[in-house]
């Protein structure tokens, strides 16, 4: 049943350019939702499965964006720029991880926040390299196998392919022995240590997976916007993606995707109708926290099973808590 539902969902998504009413604009919005969903899926590995809330994720996302933009603007071939963007971002993720994994809980959150702000500061201030506040803009998207991605529909399918691959990878990782061990380090880190697992290393690898997803999403974000600016590295971006994960449902595969659709839907679609869309988004978040603190996806699933049931007590060591 479940794989069938996933396949049906993906098929509906794949056919989206055929039935969206708003033409290329709506298709572009869908592409953006998938890019942010991949970013959120990656962060969910940390927030949901490792119990580590990172507020520096935009640093990785934006770094990939900048590396690609800088190389493409300098005339490097697209495929080299893509590999370099992902490669360098993985290296940066490793640096982030080594520094941030000295702590968990609040200290992890604060260290990642600081690291993200450092990357933002460099982009803002090292004007000769990054263009400062004006950013770096290019006017070409890549053309894999000779197919130009300049228009909405081809770009949508390229993003869709990336989305499916990343979804598969994250699913595979979460259900692998390593993924299970990662959840173990979230719930019972000391017991995991006593059992002989290297808790630090497991968390480190989880961080790398998360950084990889951020890099891929950042690369596609650059392709979409043809632009890198300090805004993508800002704390706002980091906070937004954390909200996507938490609102959609941490530690679920579908949650971050729903969260990304929710935030982008408000920001890009509802904002055309409602002036105070920020207020509305805030109200929705408050409602989610009040009525389904576990997030939209698990919350709705609970209501579907037993309408009116109270939310289950939070699991020990669920996200945001300091595991003992």
């Amino acid at each position: 049943m479940k794989p069938l539902a996933i396949a049906a969902g993906l098929a509906a998504l794949a056919a989206l350019p055929l039935w969206m009413p708003g033409g290329s604009y709506d298709v572009n919005i869908a592409s953006q939702v998938m890019i942010w969903a991949v970013f959120a899926l990656g962060l969910n590995v940390l927030v949901g499965y490792a119990g580590l809330v990172s507020l520096g994720q935009a640093g990785l996302f934006g770094f990939a964006c900048y590396v690609a933009a800088w190389l493409v603007a300098a005339g490097t071939a697209q495929w080299i720029a893509a590999i370099a963007a992902i490669g360098f971002t993985l290296v940066l993720s490793a640096v982030f991880a080594v520094l941030a994994l000295r702590g968990t809980g609040i200290s992890f959150l604060m260290i990642t926040l600081t690291l993200g702000e450092i990357v933002w500061g460099i982009a803002q201030r090292w004007v000769s390299l990054t263009g400062g506040d004006n950013g770096i803009s290019v006017s070409t998207r890549p053309a894999p196998f000779g197919i130009s991605l300049d228009t909405a529909t081809p770009f949508f399918y390229a993003t869709f392919a990336m989305f499916v691959v990343m979804l598969g990878l994250v699913w595979r990782f979460v259900h692998s022995p390593l993924g299970v061990a990662l959840r173990g380090t979230r719930d019972q880190p000391r017991r995991m240590g006593a059992l002989g697992y290297n808790v630090w290393l497991i968390r480190f690898l989880g961080f790398l997976v998360s950084g990889f997803a951020a890099a891929v999403a950042g690369l596609f974000f650059f392709y979409y916007n043809e632009f890198a600016s300090p805004y993508v590295l800002s704390l706002t971006t980091s906070a937004e993606v954390v909200l996507m994960v938490i609102a959609g449902g941490a530690a679920t595969l579908l949650g971050p995707i729903v969260g990304a659709a929710l935030v982008l839907g408000m920001q890009d679609v509802v904002s055309s109708y409602v002036a105070h869309w920020n207020l509305m988004l805030g109200a929705i978040f408050v409602a989610i926290i009040l009525f389904m603190p576990e997030g939209l996806v698990p919350g709705l699933a609970r209501l579907a099973r037993r309408p009116g049931a109270a939310p289950a007590a939070p699991r020990p060591g669920a996200f945001g808590r300091t595991p003992s």
Binding site: N28, S128, F221, N225, S229
Partner: protein, 422 residues
């Protein structure tokens, strides 16, 4: 009329019914198709205050014209970019690809315009923006851009001239927001000030969202003047802290177009009295059109219009004149932009102006001094520099060959030419 999506949908449905009436009804319908103007502004986040003034200026103009320009109805579609580049891109796409607008008013910030610049060129979209990035009408010009306000450095040339020649200021320190607008303002000031025998001792750069200017104020040395290149509400914070540190009266205060904006006057205290600034628009300009504009704007919003509102009112005037020239046609985008750039006004809310070949305005720059008046503060015009171009009096070819102003660089020497540039 503030067009909401619902209204737009109704008109689409209406058009559908009209079209179904048969071929006879169609030609009349096409001629009466409303002109669509997309307004990219910022209604949420830290830049919202300026963005709301932009909306008010645009709406006032259209209201006064009864939403009809050159015999065609005008629909205004307002979009909030949230003040970030990715948001500007998404909203520009919505305006272009979904709403099929004929032109875009906005965006507000330079980094927003830079983010969508190549997209706008690709779609040949006539764009009337306030964003001041120098290069977009000079070194890397956007052929579809029309700028009725000024480049970042444009008003700084006469400011430096006035400071050196009339105020006899010899040395200054500068403080500006640490982003491109600040670099271009300070660079422009330095370009002319150096030539006129002045010296910039120290350039201080404060982050855009700094809560505390004390460390910067402490670095201001024994100089004649302080040049303030701050935007938004930053000048208010800066001057308050400057005065509270006992600095009031120690330097001549000189500011760029955003530093003493008329819309900020209500927020300044007595510490701002004597502050001299240069701006391409001034609410106190006593042209008839401007008096009417200020009265109408004040009545509509309860506030005095500043550069933001005025620029979008001017954008409306430029659009109207261009539509008269094209006979109300908007389909040929290149012809429409050409007509916009060819407009020339003997009088307007900022006095006479026209455009150079890059679509950037040539017109008055006002030197104002903040004075106390009965009810509060006013910007008194103390000198008007007429026909100020983005190239000041430099040789245009040489100007285009030199790199843009940067954070720490010294501007390349450009001899000022007494006869003027173009």
């Amino acid at each position: 009329m503030r067009i909401t999506r619902r209204k737009a949908l109704q008109s689409v449905v209406g058009a559908g019914i009209g079209a179904s009436l048969g071929p006879l009804a169609r030609p009349a319908l096409a001629a009466n198709k409303p002109i669509r103007i997309g307004l990219l502004t910022v209604l949420t986040g830290p830049l919202a205050e300026g963005g709301i003034q932009i909306r008010a200026g645009t709406e006032l103009f259209l209201k006064q014209r009864n939403h009809t320009l050159a015999g065609r109805k005008v629909e205004l579609i307002i979009q909030d970019t949230g003040g970030n580049p990715a948001g500007a891109k998404t909203k520009a796409q919505e305006l272009v690809e979904r709403d099929h607008v004929d032109m875009i008013f906005g965006p507000y910030a330079a980094f927003e315009l830079l983010a969508i610049n190549s997209y706008l060129i690709q779609h040949k979209m006539p764009t009337l923006s306030l964003a001041a990035a120098d290069d977009l009408t000079s070194r890397t010009p956007n052929p579809y851009l029309v700028r009725a306000s000024a480049t970042s450095s444009q008003a700084m040339y006469p400011l430096a001239d006035y400071a050196a020649r009339e105020l006899k200021v010899k040395t200054v320190d500068t403080i500006a927001d640490d982003f491109a607008f600040g670099y271009e303002e300070v660079g422009g000031f330095q370009q002319v000030f150096d030539d006129d025998g002045g010296t910039i001792r120290k350039k201080l750069w404060s982050p855009l969202h700094t809560p505390d200017y004390t460390p910067y104020i402490a670095q201001i040395g024994a100089v004649d003047g302080v040049v303030i290149g701050l935007a938004g509400s930053n000048p208010v914070k800066f001057l308050q802290q400057y005065a509270s540190l006992g600095m009031a009266g120690k330097h001549k205060l000189l500011g760029g177009e955003t530093a003493a904006d008329d819309a900020l006057l209500k927020s300044f205290g007595d510490e701002a009295v004597g502050f001299i600034s240069a701006c391409p628009y001034s609410a106190s300009y006593d042209g008839t059109q401007n008096k009417d504009f200020v009265a109408a704007y004040t009545k509509q919003t309860g506030a005095v219009p500043g550069l933001n509102a005025a620029t979008f009112y001017l954008n409306g005037m430029v659009t109207e004149a261009a539509l008269h020239a094209t006979g109300g046609k908007t389909d040929d985008r290149a012809a429409l932009v050409k007509a916009m750039r060819a407009t020339s006004f003997k009088d307007s809310i900022r006095g006479p102006f026209h455009f150079d070949r890059f679509g950037n305005v040539v017109g008055n720059v006002f030197m104002r001094r903040i004075d106390k008046s009965g009810s509060g503060l006013v910007n008194t015009i103390i000198k008007v520099y007429p026909n100020v171009s983005q190239f000041w009096t430099f040789d245009v070819k040489k100007y285009l060959a030199t790199p843009n102003y940067t954070r720490n660089g010294t501007p390349a020497k450009l001899a000022q030419n007494a006869a003027g540039a173009e």
